[in-house]
Amino acid sequence: MAAALAASLPAPQAAPTPAAPMHEAIPASMSKVIDIEAEIPLKCVQLDGMVVSKIIKHSREAQGPAAHGLILGLDLDGILEVSNSFPLPNHSSDDDDKSVKGVARYQGAMLRSLKEVQADDSVVGFYQAMTLGSFFNQTLVDTQAIHQEKLRHGGVVIVHDVSQGARGNASFRAFRLTKAFLDAYKRNNFSTPSLISHRLTFSSMLEEVPLKIRTNALLSSFLGTLAEVSGPSLADAGPSAAMSSAALPPSFSALDLGSSSVSRNLEHIIEAVDSYKTEEGNLAYLQRQIAREKARAEAYVAKRKEENAGRVAQGLAPLPEEDVSRLFKVPAEPSRLESLLLLGKIDAFGKSLAETSSVGLVKIDDAVRAAHGSMGDRGRHATPTRATRPGAAAIAGGVGQPPNPY
């Protein structure tokens, strides 16, 4: 019997209806929304519920912020529907060539396997976990540049902030490289003139694509069953009914007053600023070297000219003007990509710090009011509260959120 069980299935049925001309297969109602040539630009990325949970799980379990994987899906009428994802193994530090091949083999095998169970198997981008809002790094840029070259629609990168998730707000954002950056990247030229001609700063490296979360009907109904409150849920129901009648008790991690992440965030900023300073030092050193070499070359040319003028005056044949570039090696303009990435990192850390602190202010304000309220003495509803409220509102507004209406 076990043998019958173990007998592997017959080969998967032949590929469904071999490629008939696609134009005929598309019904008229769909002809507008399906673009074979990938002409409709992407407007929006739609993330499936399963992908959300898969990314969160992988980000949490992977050591360090290095968790990354591929996302699979289809695009329809400008909406990129991401319906599946799988994690990629971590780059092991031993010889790169081997691990790259290993990853490629892994990827191919995984895609084949997914196809066999009718899952989507076209790669539309990749995801990456990050902490404290900072996702600028070399690997991300490299991978996305390759994808944007190869994939239909260029693909997107989805970043998930682990630390924000821990604060009770799971955050996903979708990005792609801007045209200007991609152009500079292709030429592999991030020298100052190139940056100027492309108008590149860290904020114009990536463009954000709007992202939506979607749960399919089956998942929605299942979650609904889980979250359903069994029994009467009216305000006047007996208190015993409130005792965990719902399968999913509400969570209030957003109300936690602790600010442990602030100090870590500050540390990250300091680290990033330090490495930026080192990088700037390197750049300045290279700049000085360039200037010195250039000056020497110019001096040489000037001297030769002077000599020649002298020789002409004496009636001698002038010395040939030699190629200066062969005598003096003027170093190439240094690449500023690294410093660009570091600045982006610093900005991201600063932004997440600003957000944390603005939320913190609102929380403190509420906590103060709650504390005073629970003393039962409304009259003492007190100076710190009044003093903080405009500040809280102003700062909350300052980072681009509407001030909270309480």
Partner: protein
């Protein structure tokens, strides 16, 4: 939290004669991560028309006390006909190896199927998975997707043991064991996001939400809860409802917390810190912006 309606079933530990020398303990309870659950549902959605149900492999960890943690799952090809059932073993092996590369800690703990009917084929498949998980016992998750009218969506977990004087693979006793949904605190936020999305009429949600919006929602729900408690207390005071002493005790513990130490400048100090941090944050950001603009200015 429970994953199905309460049942009156007693969870019996069934120590099968063949398993008396099992290392570790027999599975006593199962916890399921959302990822595994969502993958099963997705697999069910993508089944072919011919498939009555889908099956797949559960990956996870066993702990010393007999608890099995199902961390993820993947679909497996199988075919069922009147006469026979077949599971694609090569596929299972390949898939397991792929998963193992990324997540070496997760091993095969059992299998899932959709639909809640257990039949002879279930016993056969279970027998097959028992060999995969040997020397441990395999578990079986039966997930009812709730698409059949009149059936409640939910998950039931079973351990299987051979039955009869001469055990045959097609005979099996499936003993129910407790099963619940569990996730880490970090994953909670993602789950909240999905439940919120599922509740919205279009099943889509714009994203990302800001921290402040999340905070606002939490505060509103706390405020609603306080209102509920207040109306209960009022009705007790007015004599409409008889007070429950247990609830009174809980309320006293929750609301009577001392705020003395908070009064002592704790808030003020923390407020100043936060304002300082906020100032630093905007300072850093503007410096970074200025620096990146300056890089675009040449000396000439």
């Amino acid at each position: 939290m429970p994953l199905s309606v309460d049942s009156s079933a007693v969870h019996i530990q069934n120590f099968a004669p063949g398993f008396t020398t099992t290392p570790g303990r027999a599975p006593t309870s199962v916890t399921v991560h959302p990822v595994a659950l969502f993958s099963i549902l997705d697999h069910y959605l993508r089944r072919t028309d011919a498939q009555e149900r889908v099956i797949g492999t559960l990956l996870g960890k066993r702990s010393e006390n007999g608890e099995i943690e199902v961390r993820s799952s993947f679909a497996v090809l199988h075919s069922e006909t009147e006469e026979q059932v077949a599971v694609d073993m090569d596929y299972l092996k390949t898939m397991y190896e792929l998963h193992h590369k990324v997540n070496p800690k997760e091993g095969i703990v059992g299998w899932y199927s959709t639909g809640s009917n257990l039949n002879t084929y279930s016993a056969l498949i279970h027998n097959f998975y028992s060999q995969e998980t040997a020397p441990h016992q395999a578990i079986h998750l039966a997930l009812n997707t709730g698409v059949v009218e009149g059936e409640q969506a939910g998950i039931k977990a079973y351990v299987g043991s051979p039955v009869g004087v001469f055990p045959k693979p097609e005979n099996c006793v499936f003993t129910p064991i407790p099963c619940e949904l569990r996730f880490q605190d970090v994953e909670r936020s993602g789950f909240d996001l999905l439940t919120g999305t599922a509740a919205s009429p279009t099943s889509t949600a714009a994203h990302p939400t800001t921290d402040l919006e999340v905070l606002e929602n939490s505060l509103q729900s706390v405020s609603a809860m306080l209102d509920r408690v207040l109306s209960y207390v009022r009705s007790v005071l007015s004599g409409e409802v008889k007070g429950d002493p247990a609830v009174g005790r809980y309320l006293m513990d929750t609301l009577g917390a001392s705020t003395d130490d908070l009064e002592k400048n704790g808030f003020n100090a923390s407020l100043q810190d936060t304002l300082m941090v906020s100032y630093i944050a905007s300072l850093v950001r503007s410096q970074a912006e200025v620096s990146s603009r300056l890089a675009l200015v040449t000396a000439t």
